[in-house]
């Protein structure tokens, strides 16, 4: 199995000819572009894994409201703990990301593109602005792109202001519009009622880059890698207790063990797949696959070494969610604080078995009753740590 290390081995993105995807798209009809993306089985790389072709189809069919335009938004909020592959992509392959956004604009009929960049990445902005300026000079943005009469599209960068929840697409749109980043009820979905109430496609940075590769090389090429439900390659950001942390490109469906062998993390006790909102996979389950249908991730892989305290891991994640919950709905606002309190009780060795059961029931309620993905997934790590490491975390002595 080929797992490429971005520091030493070329990635697919290095070998795809610049602008070959856009050139192919401009020679196709709109429906055919979307058809090709649909046929590739590309699913969103930001975490939720929604089929990209389906999303574009809905946005293409949606009607623009009076005087407005459709939008293409690139989600570069990359806030999931342990994820940094979008930063590397934007630094090394910004052209390809913008090329992918331009293809999306052509496919759905959008006139304006926005890259929502997390404020933590502000140092990337001068580079991104320079790439955009050059693309305008080269007529890859602006009016009559690539010589195609009437195809007008431009992209600007909009900075985030430090809020993990703004990676959620409706919160992101609220933030773009100048409001607090509080997620909206869905439906309506952004493809119908997005930025300024107009049809809007929101995709992850990496998703746009794969769009370019697919149009350049064909849906069949993409689908030939991965599993039936998880086509293609995925960028993985690997950190934690391993010898070679960094960004890797791997075929979806690889096992946790295969990845650990590649990154020098063989002795691990557990691996957190999918960041703080993902699941904790114990060593006994390292045969599990990294794929949408099994251990799913937007790119975050955190290796947890044999000497780590799993309760400290749970505490770190719960503190993260208490800090980052937008506070709009009670299950998430109160629930995360309660779970953190529970972790503290466990640390003090004061948590009864009955109380632990109550915490697990609360976690289930949060998953079911929270308004957005943050509250629906914030208890995943806690629940999986309790499930797999119950013996380690219970009955602690006070002095621990």
């Amino acid at each position: 199995m080929m797992i490429a290390d971005s520091k030493r081995t070329p990635l697919t993105f290095d070998s795809v000819e610049p602008e070959s995807g856009l050139r192919a798209a401009l020679a196709m009809g709109r429906a055919d572009i979307i058809g090709e993306i649909g046929a590739s089985n590309l699913r969103g790389r930001g975490g939720a894994g929604f089929p990209t072709g389906t999303k574009w189809n809905l946005a293409a069919a949606a009607r623009v409201r009076a005087g407005g335009a459709k939008y293409v938004v690139c989600n570069a909020d990359e806030g999931e703990p342990g994820t940094f592959k979008d930063r590397v992509l934007l630094a090394a392959h910004a052209d390809m990301v913008f090329e992918g956004m331009t293809i999306a604009a052509r496919a759905i009929g959008a006139a304006i593109g926005i890259l929502y960049l997390r404020s933590e990445y502000v140092y990337l902005r001068p580079h991104l602005e320079a790439v955009l300026a050059r693309r305008r000079d080269e007529h890859l943005l602006g009016a009559d792109i690539g010589g195609l009469a009437g195809f007008t599209f431009d992209i600007h960068v909009h900075m985030g202001a430090g809020a993990y929840v703004c990676g959620e697409e409706t919160a992101l749109i609220e933030s773009l519009e100048g409001y607090r980043g509080e997620p909206r009820n869905r439906p309506p979905f952004p493809v119908d009622t997005g930025f300024q109430g107009q049809p809007t496609v929101v995709n992850n940075v990496e998703t746009f880059a794969w769009v370019v590769c697919i149009l350049s090389r064909g849906a069949g090429w993409f689908k030939a890698t991965g599993t039936g439900k998880s086509a293609g390659y995925k960028l993985l950001s690997v950190s934690g207790d391993c010898r070679e942390p960094g960004v890797y490109e791997a075929p979806l469906g690889l096992t946790v063990a295969e990845l650990l062998a590649r990154v020098g993390g063989e002795g691990a006790k557990a691996v957190q797949v999918g960041g703080a909102s993902g699941v904790c996979v114990p060593a006994s389950e390292f045969g599990r696959r990294i794929a949408f249908e099994d251990a799913s991730t937007g790119g975050s892989i955190i290796v947890i070494g044999p000497d780590r305290d799993m309760l400290a891991v749970a505490r770190n994640f719960m503190e993260f969610f208490v800090e980052e919950s937008c506070g709009q709905c009670t299950p998430c606002r109160a629930g995360n604080a309660k779970l953190l309190e529970g972790v503290e009780r466990l640390e003090r060795g004061e948590c009864s078995t009955g109380h632990l059961q109550e915490l697990l029931a609360l976690a289930e309620t949060m998953q079911l009753a929270s308004k957005c993905g943050l509250g629906q997934s914030s208890s995943n790590a806690f629940v999986s740590i309790v499930r797999h490491f119950r013996n380690e975390i219970m009955g602690r002595a006070l002095a621990h």
Partner: protein
Amino acid sequence: MLVGQQQRLQDDIREIVAQLGRDRSALIPVLQELQKRHATVSDFAMQVVADELGLHPAEVYGVTSFYAFLRQPAQGRFVFRLCRTLSCEFEGKSRVARQLENDLGIGFGQATPDGRFGLEWASCLGLCDQGPALLVNERVYTRVTPERVHEIIDECRRTFGAHARQAGHSQVEGGLS
């Protein structure tokens, strides 16, 4: 605040708004630019921004208080944001935190009395393979050790003044330097 200072701030805000627009969607960019120039978004500044954009001041306050990078209780010329998320914890962020507190003489969520330095926790900075990670204004420091803290603070002291807010050379691997 002195009347002259207030007038200057007001003029500055008008200039920023003239540049970025009066749409609601300009609100956050306006606040960000304001903060960049003045290191802080004061109650008075929020009032002026509200007037300029035709909003209720409570709306502006609501937005400012929502975002970690605008809220910033520790408002200083140089805001140190140390990542406290798991991978940086594994790499020893607690010892870096302690040294920052010792060398700056303040705790997290505080600013030095001279208004030069603020100290804040940050959620994952997206540099997890190079932790502990530290963001100082628009500059990034990776693999920070307690020993290096002093040097980083010194670097800020040296650049204090006209160029203080300019993005420095960040040392990100696999990123841009």
